[in-house]
């Protein structure tokens, strides 16, 4: 690959990523660009939102060494503005910040973007991590972490596993165009973050198969060893809130107690579904 091409790709993909499923770039161009980025090991721009100057600087050293392009912001109040300006491919977000706190920033980012968000947290108390995930963070990493762990988390979130050729998944009243990263429910577009898209696609490629949380952690989040299964639980809830008619009583992404999740058979929907469901 010629280095010139790489530079071009960096610019285009950086601007487009995270907005893909919303705006739907021309799919063939996008696919080619993404494949190119995988092949040449494209890293991308990372917005680091952290108030600790030493940690910020050290993160900068590590990220630059790994080929990422870090952008820093120290205060929560400036985070959203910095995001608009830098258009990062990924946000590293400290939960405890002066000014606007991490949870609030997370929620605001999710209102306008599906950009991958990895929380940096010094807290290990259950409720804080769950709150962060519920606010829209894709993954988290607990301080202190090693450079290797950090880079692995970031890579996992930036990685795209693209399938060869066009793939369209149909199940229940949903249709997924995997290449275009587009999802429709009863022909109406549904906004999913890249992570939610990948989670749904993973389940939908093998309908009726039950995926354990561990398998999903490996396939969707890229954890090679045991990860935190709460990641799966929280994101399944978020996904259901977007695609289910009644998230409290899900028909599409079903819980298989004691095992995991699956895309349920449509027969179940037909049997117990509401009469007006098809008319919808």
């Amino acid at each position: 690959m010629a280095p010139e091409l790489v530079n071009e790709v960096v610019v285009v993909v950086s601007e487009g990523r995270g907005e893909v499923s919303r705006f739907g770039l021309q799919r063939d161009i996008l696919a080619r660009l993404k494949r190119g980025s995988e092949v040449i090991g494209l890293k991308g721009r990372v917005l680091v939102v952290d108030d600790d100057p030493s940690l910020g600087e050290m993160l900068g050293i590590v990220l630059r060494q790994e080929g990422f392009e870090p952008v820093f912001v120290r205060s929560g109040d400036q985070a959203i503005a910095a995001f608009h300006q830098a258009k990062p491919d990924l946000v590293l977000l400290d939960l405890m910040l002066p000014g606007k706190d991490g949870l609030e920033i997370c929620r605001e980012l999710r209102l306008e973007s599906g950009v991958p968000i990895v929380m940096l947290t010094a807290k290990t108390d259950t409720v804080d991590i769950v709150l962060g995930l519920e606010s829209g963070a894709d993954d988290y990493i607990t301080k202190p972490f090693s450079a290797k762990e950090l880079v692995a988390r970031i890579r996992a979130r930036l990685r795209r596993r693209d399938t060869e050729g066009a793939e369209t998944l149909r199940f229940h009243d949903m249709e997924m165009d995997v290449m275009a990263h587009q999802v429709t429910k009863r022909a109406k577009p549904v906004n999913l973050t890249p992570l939610e898209f990948e989670l749904l696609a993973t389940l939908a490629r093998r309908p009726r198969q039950v995926f354990t949380r561990e398998v999903l952690l490996e396939q969707v989040w890229g954890y090679r060893y045991a990860g935190d299964t709460r990641l799966v639980n929280v994101h399944v809830q978020r996904l259901r809130a977007k695609i289910e008619d009644d998230p409290e009583n899900p028909r599409i992404v079903q819980t298989v107690r004691g095992v995991g999740y699956r895309i349920g058979p449509e027969a179940a929907t037909g049997e117990v579904g509401k009469p007006d469901e098809q008319a919808g």
């Binding site: 972490f145 450079a147 095992v259 179940a268």
Partner: protein
């Protein structure tokens, strides 16, 4: 009635009333008996005195009559005496109602119901043999006017022959009088008892009312309502003062509890703050150390070694910090268990698997034996905490064994699941055994810390097991090995509800028990 209830099971009021009633009944019985006895005695004495006097007089008259009838036949004389004596029965105020006259030839009686045979022999003996006036009380024959009767016998001695006369005095008057007295005592007694019961119940109720109020308030406080207070005292008696001091005590209690809660939340907050404040610089240090470690080939030899030591000790420091924070969280009581169903066989399999490399390096064989004969080893638990507990125990076992065998077993036993970890290590001396779950206790201070424990592992394991309402025990024999046993309450396996049959087997094929739910 009384025997069926243990006194302590009755409430206070019933007990006091019962006790008072018993005292009243006992006193009435005593009083009644005494009164009855006293009156009976005086009545009987009076009758006896009168009877004696009358009998004496009659005997003298009869003796005189006999003395003056030397000219007539014995039969006539006897008839005369009999008539004379029996005329007393029809006198205006008859003492006796019947007589029997025993003569030298014949016996004559005024009333067929009273026969000589019915008279007790000792009386006859006294009168006949000893020739004296004597008396006896006996049951009256059926149909008489009284139940008991007084019999007075008198010997009549004369030249015309020896006679004995027996006079029957019925005890109607005495019996009636005593009967009336008894009735009177019973009526008065029952009335008195009723009055006492009612009065006691009322007054005990009044006395108890403030105590019951105090009890209600105390119960309210005990169930967590620290603002409950007794109403302000209106009197300066004992109850008034009780209310006052009770309220003062509650006030002090509420204050102390408030302080303690404050301290507890402060500690929890402190732990959380320390955690955050330490972790951020540590994250920087960690990454810097990683960076230097990765780039150490370009450094002078001593600096290279320093980079390695820095990296290694940082690892230990992090582990120690994690353990300290964990134990602080236990101390602050901020750890809540959010249990899910855990199959200990699967969990232990993973634990043993993960430690395989360490075991292999020390030439230790680790085996897992699962006994499902009494059911699956399921528990309601936080799998990460249990993973930590058993990783710690198995790692310890491996660390203490050289070239040997570590046996891990799990079995369902009744309502428990029992996990055992046995090693063939050097064992723990008996004097150390009670202390090994203490923080930073090291059984052997000289022992090489090859696996870099923090000294908090077993203490945290114990806290984690306690959190799951389980227990952990250890037995050990020096030079033979140690055995740790963890007992956790078992969880009943869920039933197997039918699945959607059109779902077909899952392609992975590993999950036959599928339950679809919301």
């Amino acid at each position: 009635m009384l025997g069926r209830f243990a006194p302590s099971r009755l409430d206070l009021r019933a007990r006091v009333v019962l006790f008072t009633s018993l005292i009243v009944v006992a006193s009435l019985l005593l009083l009644g008996t005494a009164l009855h006895a006293l009156l009976a005695k005086s009545l009987f004495t009076q009758q006896l005195d009168q009877a004696n006097a009358e009998v004496e007089r009659l005997r003298d008259q009869a003796a005189a009559t006999l003395n003056g009838s030397a000219d007539i036949s014995t039969t006539q004389a006897r008839q005369r005496v009999f008539d004379q004596l029996s005329s007393g029965t029809s006198a205006p105020k008859p003492g006796f109602t019947a007589i029997i006259l025993v003569g030298p030839e014949n016996t004559q009686r005024s009333d067929d119901r009273f026969t000589l045979e019915s008279i007790p022999p000792q009386l006859i003996n006294a009168v006949f043999t000893r020739s004296e006036i004597a008396y006896v009380y006996m049951d009256a024959p059926p149909g008489s006017e009284s139940r008991r009767t007084l019999v007075v016998g008198a010997p009549i001695r004369s030249p015309q022959g020896d006679y004995e006369a027996y006079f029957f005095y019925p005890m109607r008057f005495q019996e009636q009088t005593l009967g009336m007295l008894t009735n009177f005592l019973v009526i008065v007694g029952v009335g008195l008892l009723a009055a006492v019961v009612i009065m006691t119940a009322i007054s005990i109720g009044r006395v108890l009312k403030p105590i019951q109020r105090a009890r209600d308030v105390a119960e309210a406080i005990a169930s967590g309502n620290l603002t409950a207070r007794l109403p302000e005292a209106t009197t300066q008696d004992d109850f008034g003062r009780l209310a006052e001091s009770f309220n003062r005590m509650t006030e002090a209690l509420a204050q102390k509890i408030g302080e303690l809660e404050n301290v507890s939340s402060l500690q929890a907050r402190f732990v959380s703050d320390v955690s955050h404040e330490l972790r951020t610089p540590l994250a920087t240090v960690r990454m810097a150390a990683d960076y230097i470690h990765a780039a150490r080939s370009g450094l002078p030899p001593d600096a290279q070694r320093a980079a390695v030591l820095l990296e290694r000790e940082l690892e230990r420091f992090e582990n120690l910090l994690e353990d300290l924070l964990e134990i602080s969280r236990f101390d602050a009581g901020v750890i809540a268990l959010d249990p899910v169903e855990v199959d200990l066989a699967a969990l232990l399999d993973e634990v043993v698997d993960a430690l395989d490399a360490i075991a292999h390096g020390r030439r230790v064989r680790v085996t897992l034996h699962v006994d499902r004969s009494q059911g699956p080893p399921l528990v309601a638990a936080d799998p990460r905490r249990l993973d930590r507990v058993f990783s710690n125990l198995v790692k310890n076992a491996i660390e203490h064994t050289h070239d040997g065998h570590v046996k891990v077993g799990v079995a369902r036993r009744g309502t428990d699941v029992i996990v055992s970890v046995e090693d063939e290590g050097e064992g723990i001396p008996a004097e150390d055994l009670p202390h090994i779950f203490e923080r930073f206790y090291r059984a052997d201070v000289h022992r090489a810390r090859t696996l870099g424990g923090t000294g908090l592992g077993l203490a945290i394991a114990l806290e984690n097991v306690n959190l799951h309402k389980g227990s952990v025990t250890v037995t050990s024999e020096v030079a033979r090995g140690s055995a740790f046993t963890v007992v956790l309450p078992a969880m009943e396996p869920p039933g197997k509800p039918a699945t959607d049959d059109d779902a077909g087997p899952a392609p992975s094929g590993s999950e036959p028990e599928v339950v679809v739910g919301g």
